[in-house]
C-alpha cells in the first residue's frame, strides 16, 4: 500500500489521465477565455466614458483570470467522461482505486483560489478608488436628477434653473449627479457610461462620470418602480461644449418666456 503510494507520488504526472487532462486544459483554457470574453464584451458595446471602459477591461481581466480554473474543471470533467463509462441497470464494478484525499491537490487548489480571490479584490478596489475620486472634482458640472413615477427630470442648477427630461452633457467635462426621488425607489442608469445609482425618496445620493464620446445614449430606470417601470427611460445627448452652452441658453430663454 505505502509502496504504491510512494511510487505514485514519484511519477503522478506521467499517468495517462494526467497527460490527457493537461492537454485538454491547455486547449480549453484559451478557448474558454476567448469565447467568454468576446461574447460578453461585444454585447456590452462601445463605452462612452472612462468608467465604462474600465468596467469592460475589468470584466475581460476577470474572465481571463477565471478561464484557467474553468478550463481545468472542464478538462478534468472531460477526462472523467472519456474514461470507463457504464450503461445499464446494474452498477459497474468498483473503481480500481480508493483515493480519499490528496493533500497536495487540496492545498494547491485552496492556495490558488485564494490568490485569485485576492487578485479580483485588489483589481476591483483600484478601479473603485479611481471612480470614487471623480465625485470630488471641483471643476465638475452639477446636475440634479429627480426620479418620479415614471420619468426622469434633470435640473442644471448652475444655469438659471434649466430643467429637462432629456439629459444634455458636454463631452470631456466631469459631471456629478445628485440623485433623489419623489415617490418610490428608482435607479438612475446611464447605460453606455457604466454608472448607476439609486434614487431614494428623502435622500440625495451621488455618482460621477466624464462622458468622452459625442453621441446619443440611454438613461434607464434599473429598479422596479411600479406600473410603467419599463417605460421610464430617455436619452442622454453628449455634445460639444459649444453646443451644450447653446442648448442651455436656448432652454433658459424658453423657460424664461414661459
Amino acid at each position: 500500500m505505502s509502496d504504491v503510494q510512494v511510487s505514485n507520488k514519484a511519477k503522478w504526472w506521467k499517468s495517462a489521465d494526467v497527460k490527457k487532462t493537461a492537454i485538454y486544459w491547455v486547449i480549453l483554457t484559451p478557448i474558454i477565455g476567448y469565447v467568454a470574453t468576446e461574447v460578453q464584451l461585444r454585447s456590452i458595446g462601445a463605452p462612452a466614458s472612462e468608467v465604462m471602459a474600465s468596467v469592460k477591461s475589468l470584466m475581460g481581466i476577470f474572465t481571463w483570470a477565471a478561464s484557467p480554473v474553468a478550463g481545468l474543471v472542464a478538462a478534468l470533467a472531460l477526462t472523467s467522461l472519456m474514461g470507463k463509462r457504464h450503461y445499464g441497470d446494474n452498477p459497474p464494478p468498483d473503481a480500481d482505486h480508493e483515493i480519499r484525499n490528496s493533500p497536495r491537490a487540496a492545498a494547491t487548489w485552496v492556495v490558488v483560489s485564494t490568490l485569485l480571490c485576492l487578485f479580483a479584490l485588489i483589481t476591483g478596489l483600484i478601479v473603485l478608488q479611481k471612480d470614487s475620486e471623480s465625485i470630488l472634482d471641483a471643476k465638475a458640472i452639477n446636475i440634479n436628477v429627480t426620479g418620479q413615477q415614471w420619468v426622469w427630470n434633470f435640473d442644471y442648477p448652475e444655469s438659471n434653473g434649466v430643467r429637462s427630461e432629456v439629459l444634455y452633457l458636454p463631452v470631456d467635462r466631469p459631471v456629478v449627479f445628485h440623485i433623489t426621488s419623489k415617490d418610490v425607489k428608482h435607479s438612475f442608469w446611464v447605460v453606455q457610461m457604466g454608472i448607476k445609482m439609486d434614487a431614494n425618496p428623502g435622500y440625495v445620493t451621488e455618482t460621477a462620470v466624464t462622458p468622452n464620446k459625442i453621441g446619443v445614449f440611454d438613461v434607464r430606470c434599473a429598479e422596479l418602480c411600479g406600473l410603467l417601470h419599463a417605460y421610464m427611460q430617455n436619452k442622454v445627448h453628449v455634445v460639444s461644449q459649444a453646443d451644450y452652452d447653446a442648448w442651455l441658453s436656448n432652454r433658459a430663454a424658453l423657460e424664461g418666456a414661459a
Binding site: 468608467v51 468498483d94 490528496s102 487540496a106 473603485l128 418610490v184 425607489k185
Partner: protein, 626 residues
Amino acid sequence: MTTMMDRSASAPGHAAGKRPLIERLNIVTALVLGTVSAVVVWQLALRFLPETPETSLFFNREDKISLLSLIGWFVGFMTGIGALIGPFRWALGKDLNHDENMFLAGKDQGIKRYFRYTTDHKVVGIQYLVITIIILFVGGTLAMLIRTNLGHAQGGWIQPQTYNAIVGWHGIIMIVATIIMITGPFGNFIMPIMIGARDMAFPRLNALSFWLIVAAVPPVFISFFTGGITTGWSAYNPLASQAGLGMNGYIAFICIFAISTMVAGANITTTVVKMRAKGMTWNRTPIFIYGVVASVALALPAFPVFFLSQIMSGMDRAFATSFYNTAGGGSGWLYENLFWIMGHPEVYVILIPSVAALMEMAPVFTRRPLFSFNLAVMGIAGISGLSVLVWAHHMYISGWAPLLNAPFMLTTELISIPTGMLFLVLIGTLWRGRLWMTMPTASIYALLWNFMIGGITGIYLSDVPADAFLHGSMYVTAHFHYTLMGAGLTGALASLVFWFPKMTGRMFNKTLSWVSFWLVQIGFNVTFIGMFLVGLAGQPRRVESYAEVFSRGNLITTMGAYTIMAGMLVLLHGVISSWRSGVKAPMNPWQSKTLEWTVPNPVPLENFETLPVVTSDAYGYGKAKS
C-alpha cells in the same frame, strides 16, 4: 400509492359511527374552517372597524381588514387540520395516548394519511414532494407567461399591472419552491433513515411545518386577484406600501412560511444532532446530512429577520407606522437591509443541499470514495459562515453606505474560496471513477457547468465598479437563475430520480429522465445565456417591454424557455407514470452504502426493526478494500 395498506380494523377506543375529533380532521375540514373563519373575520371587520380619516396616507382600513381576514384564515386552517389538538390536550393535562399517537403517525390509513396532520416523516416527505411539484408547476407556468410576453419587443399582450404581478408571483413562489425542494421531500423522507433514526426528533413539529406551507399558499394565490404582488419578490418599500391589497397576501404568506421554515429548521437540526445511529460520528455522517443541516441552520437566523421585516411592512400599511416611510422618519434602506440579511443566506439555503445531494450521489455513480470529505465539510461550513456577512452587496448602488462597499466586496469574494472547495470535491470524485451513466451522474456534470458560469458571473457582480453597470439588469436575473436553477434545481431533479425508488417503491423511467435532462439543460443554457447578453447590452430586469435592440436576445431566451418547459413536462409525466406503474424497485437499486438503502420498500412505519450500528463512513467504494 405503493405504500397503500388496507385498514384492517377500525382504530380501537371508540364506538362505531362516532369517531373522535382527532380522526375527523383533515384537509377538507381545514379548508372549510379556514374559509369560514376568514369570511367571518372579514364581515366582522367590515362592520366594526372605524372608517379611516380622509388624511390617511394609504388604504389603512382595507389593509386592516384584509390582514385580519388572512389571520382568520390562518388560525381557522391550522385549527381545522388539527394542529392545536396536541397542545390543547397537553395544556389540559391529558396528553395523547399511544393509540392516538399511532393514529397521528398514519398507521394503517392508506392514502388518507397524506391529507391529515400526519407525523410520520415519510408521509411528510411525500407531502412536501407533491407540494413542491405543484408550486414548481405554477411558478413555471408564470415563467412561461413572462417569457411569452417578452417574446417580441414592444407591446406585450399582458397589461403592465398584470405583468408586474406575474413577475412578483413567479419570484416569490419559485423562491419558496426552491427553498423546500431538497430539505422538504428528501430532508424529511430520506434524512432520518440515512442517519438511522426512527423518525424526526419532533414529529408533530414536522407535520406542523408542512401544513404551515399549505396554509401559506392560498394567501399568495388570492393576492393575485386583489391587486397582486406588483413589487417583484423583494417587495421593496416604499413601493410595497404603495401597492394594492395583494401585498397583504405577500406579507401573510412570508410570515407563515417563515414560521414553517424556523420550525423545520429547529426540528431537522435537533434530529441530526441528537438522533444519529450509534457509531455515526461526525466523520461518518454522510455529506448530504451536512448539506441539509447547513441549509436549515442558515434559515434559522435568516427567516426571523424576514418575518420581522414583513411584520413591519404590514404595520406600515395597516397602522400608518413609518418604519420604511422616509417622510415619517423611517427609511427604505432599513427594509433593504432586513430583506437582504435574510436574502443572501437564503440563496445558500437553496444551493448547499443541492450540491451536497450531488456529492452524496457522486461516489455511488463513480464507484469510488468521496474525494476529500473534510474539504467538503469545510466548504459547506465556510459558505454558511460567510453568507451571513455579505448581504449589502445587493446594496452597493443603493447609496446607503458607500464606505461599506469595499468590505462587503471582500466578504463576498471570499465566498469563492469555500465554493471552490465544493468544486474540487466533485471533480476529484469524478477523477478516475468508474462512471455509471445515469441521469444523476449527468446532473453532476451539468451542475459543474452551470455553477461554474453562475459562480464566475457572481464574481463580476461582487465587484463594485462592474456591479454599478450590471446591477438591476437582466444579467443579474440570468446569474441567479444559473445558481438557483442551473445548480439548485439540477441537484433537486437528480435527487428526485436518485431517491424515487426509496420514496415510491418504483424506479424512475430511465428514458424519460434522460429526455427531460437534455431538454431542461439545453433549454436552460440557451435561455439564460441569451439573458446574459441582453443584460450586458443594457436591458433592465422586470420590464414588460424593451427597446428594439434587445429583440434577438429575448427571442432566443423565450425559445430556450419553451424547451425547458417541454423538459419539465416530460419530467412531470415521468413522475406520474413511474409512480403509478414504474418497474418495482429493489431495496438498493444503486448499490449505495448509505443507510436509507438498507430498509425495505415500502419503508415500514418506524424504518428500522433494530436500529443500525455504524462502523465506517458510507463511501467505502473502490477496489483496495482492507
